[in-house]
């Protein structure tokens, strides 16, 4: 694994690397060399299988992080290529010419995060969400609870379960009325005497 990473570093300058297990490593690459590096990994190093593409929204660092996980069948090992994108202008090169399956991931990421992949087939069509007219829902600035409360008629919370109130209502109605009447009279008289003084 280290040899592969060193060779990758010589060709494409690995910004950061993290070997989690002997057969799993994470490398961070620059955006403009990422597709070349993935092509190199696929064609030369034998990482033939695209496991998945995922995106993470790091709103504090103002970036999106894309992760491409590739698998090598001979070595039984994975390399995850990470690419950091600017949050203001999230555009990434498409991978659909390497693996046709990538276009599905890219459509989903376009829909959920708003990261554009120009040239990927049908990337602008809605895929999962039908008629979505808000900002992409997986972005951190999208307040999903607020949206749900505004849109989906939430049921109001649980009613009070104070046993005294319930017993007064159900069993001791007259007694409760008398009690509250006495309380009212006492309070009013107290106020009157306070006014007189």
């Amino acid at each position: 694994m280290e040899d592969i990473l060193n060779r990758l570093d010589q060709k494409f300058y690995v910004q950061a690397r993290y070997v989690q297990r002997p057969n799993l490593a994470f490398v961070t690459l620059k955006k403009n060399v990422a597709v070349q590096a993935i092509t190199y990994l696929r064609d030369v190093e034998g990482f033939r299988h695209l496991v998945m593409i995922s995106a993470v929204d790091y709103i504090e660092q103002n970036m999106f992080q894309l992760t491409y996980i590739l698998h090598n069948y001979q070595l039984h090992s994975d390399i995850a290529v990470r690419v950091e994108l600017d949050r203001e202008n999230p555009v990434m090169d498409s991978l659909h010419h390497l693996w046709a399956a990538a276009q599905v991931y890219q459509r989903e990421i376009k829909e959920m995060f708003g990261i554009d992949f120009p040239g990927s087939p049908r990337v602008d069509e809605p895929m999962i969400l039908e008629g979505w007219d808000n900002i992409p829902p997986m972005r951190k600035e999208f307040d999903t609870k607020k949206y749900s409360e505004e849109t989906y008629f939430p049921r109001e919370g649980r009613a009070s379960c104070d046993p005294v109130k319930i017993m007064e209502k159900k069993l001791y109605r007259v007694e409760a009325e008398v009690k509250y009447e006495i309380k009212r009279v006492v309070r009013d008289n107290r106020n009157k005497s306070a006014d007189a003084n």
């Binding site: 999962i128 969400l129 039908e130 008629g131 979505w132 007219d133 829902p137 999208f142 999903t144 609870k145 949206y147 749900s148 409360e149 849109t151 989906y152 008629f153 939430p154 049921r155």
Partner: protein, 206 residues
């Protein structure tokens, strides 16, 4: 459709009014004669045919219901493949907006008498998906629910208890969900259109 018809559609675009009846549904009043009405209700209560439509995790609870252990066919409950033959719609668990569109379409195609069973707490108040951007919170704003079965997930026994409750309602003549839907159609449609943004259905799918 014939080739000519398809060509017309391709040329002029799809016109829903040609293919769908746009008449509003009517309230089905119960039979006036008391004994006949009681017989009808008894018959309806003992042949509840379920539409085989699973929306969420509750659809996993349905197959054991039909099998030897719980065997609901002894209560006259039976799964049917199409809305035209079914009488009970089980909303089994969480319901996303995308599925709601299909649910409305299937529900409106079912024939009277028809009943809706809300299964799981997701249909009551959203359950664990109360803050989801894509899952409805209260089912009774979009469809008339006759019986709710609370729980996450309710076991098949709870489902059978819900069916017994529904039978009781039908025998008393109080399961009037379909008529309620027809009477308040405008309110239901307004709620449905509020959340289904790309509304491309006819007003009522016969």
């Amino acid at each position: 459709m014939e080739d000519k018809e398809i060509k017309n559609v391709m040329d002029e675009g799809f016109k829903p009014e040609v293919y769908f009846c746009d008449a509003r549904p009517k309230v089905v009043t119960p039979v006036a004669n008391k004994f006949v009405r009681k017989f009808y209700n008894w018959a309806q209560a003992n042949s509840l045919w379920i539409l085989a439509f699973g929306t969420g995790c509750g659809s996993i609870e349905l197959p054991p219901l039909y099998k030897a252990r719980y065997d609901v066919s002894r209560f006259g409950i039976f799964p049917r493949p199409t809305p035209r033959q079914a009488g009970v719609f089980i909303i089994s668990g969480y319901l996303s907006v995308k599925t709601l569109k299909r649910v409305i379409r299937s529900y409106e195609q079912m024939q009277n008498p028809k009943f809706v069973l809300g299964l799981g707490s997701c249909t009551v108040n959203g359950g664990m998906y109360f803050d989801s951007y894509n899952t409805i919170n209260r089912l009774d704003y979009y469809l008339p629910v006759d019986v709710y079965i609370a729980g996450c997930m309710p076991r098949p026994e709870a489902l059978i208890a819900g069916f017994n409750e529904l039978k009781k309602l039908i025998k008393e003549g109080r399961a009037e969900g379909a008529n309620k839907y027809v009477e308040n159609l405008d309110w239901y449609k307004a709620n449905q259109k509020k959340i289904i943004k790309d509304w491309d259905l006819p007003e009522y799918n016969w």
